[in-house]
Point group: C2
Chain length 192, copies 2
């Protein structure tokens, strides 16, 4: 399933054969079973993961054992604990597979190396970061300004595909509400 990553790269930047091969040689493809961890809180996150198939999520677990979903990543998304990646400190997030999945892994070292050697790759990464930051700001705005029902509608609008493949409980934890509240919100939307 490396082809998915290949295709993704080709759609974003122009690479000569040599560069493509080089990146491929630094990459690692890994299959993940549903529920399998890619990263556990406490460990240091040492790789960037590109999702070529399936769906992963990152989340933290609070002192009451409740999970709070920070992010979902389906095909063609990147995921990792950027805090841990950047600082080298233990991750506070868990990352696991929502479905049977497949990822392309690049170690921090190799990732940075590629950024350094291939400016186009570096630009791509920074564009991604830019977009991710914008999306993040939008999510914050939604979080501080919308009611439960509006949050869910906003989510549906933004990620109609995710709503279909991700268990409701996880969506609730992403939106910052209890599973029961989300259930009632959906009910409310249906009956009108």
């Amino acid at each position: 399933m490396y082809e998915v990553f290949q295709k993704y790269m080709d759609s974003k930047i122009q690479l000569c054969q040599e560069q493509s091969d080089w990146i491929r040689s630094l990459s690692l493809v890994r299959k993940l079973r549903k529920h399998q961890f890619l990263l556990q809180a406490g460990d240091v996150c040492k790789q960037h993961a590109f999702v070529s198939k399936g769906c992963l999520r990152s989340y933290s677990v609070d002192s009451d054992g409740v999970e709070h979903t920070v992010k979902f990543a389906v095909e063609n998304w990147w995921i990792g604990d950027r805090n841990s990646l950047m600082t080298g400190e233990p991750a506070m997030l868990n990352i696991d597979a929502v479905e049977d999945s497949e990822v392309v892994l690049l170690s921090t070292k190799n990732f940075d190396l590629i950024c350094q050697k291939i400016p186009a790759f570096n630009d791509m990464v920074n564009n991604l970061l830019q977009s991710a930051y914008n999306a993040s700001q939008n999510r914050i705005l939604a979080n501080i300004s919308l009611s439960a029902i509006e949050k869910y509608e906003h989510f549906l609008q933004r990620y109609p595909d995710l709503a279909l493949r991700i268990p409701q409980g996880m969506i609730a934890s992403y939106l910052g509400m209890s599973p029961e509240t989300l259930s009632r919100v959906r009910n409310q939307i249906m009956s009108r």
Copy 2:
């Protein structure tokens, strides 16, 4: 007050005199009175602003006329509507001065030019973006997992300085609660 910006740059990257002078020649210093707009929703955001003195905020106004604060920026922070900057579309955010302030402005065009000509500057910008993104993720986590009182304590811990200089109502709108709730939360914290 350009010196503040100069000092900031010197602390982050190494520039030769020529480069420093060049950047200065592309910069614009502007004073802002309290409440004065730097950007109004509907206009296109065409400049990056570095705060050399005072405090600005970005916020959106919802259909009920309620303000929701996306970000505060005090000395040595950057602010702008990145969405509008990137796409060239009209801004959805307002940016105005919380106190009498002073900013160093760089037009998108010049900013991009500097990024292009001075790799160190580009790296600095990307590091900033990285940090901003991380902070943003942390804020989201706080938003979806904490109660009103915990959110305020979290804010105090993170930005003890801001709590002192920014009106409570604005902090409430940043935290996603009503001014009344914040007032009661503070009361609760005092009395223990």
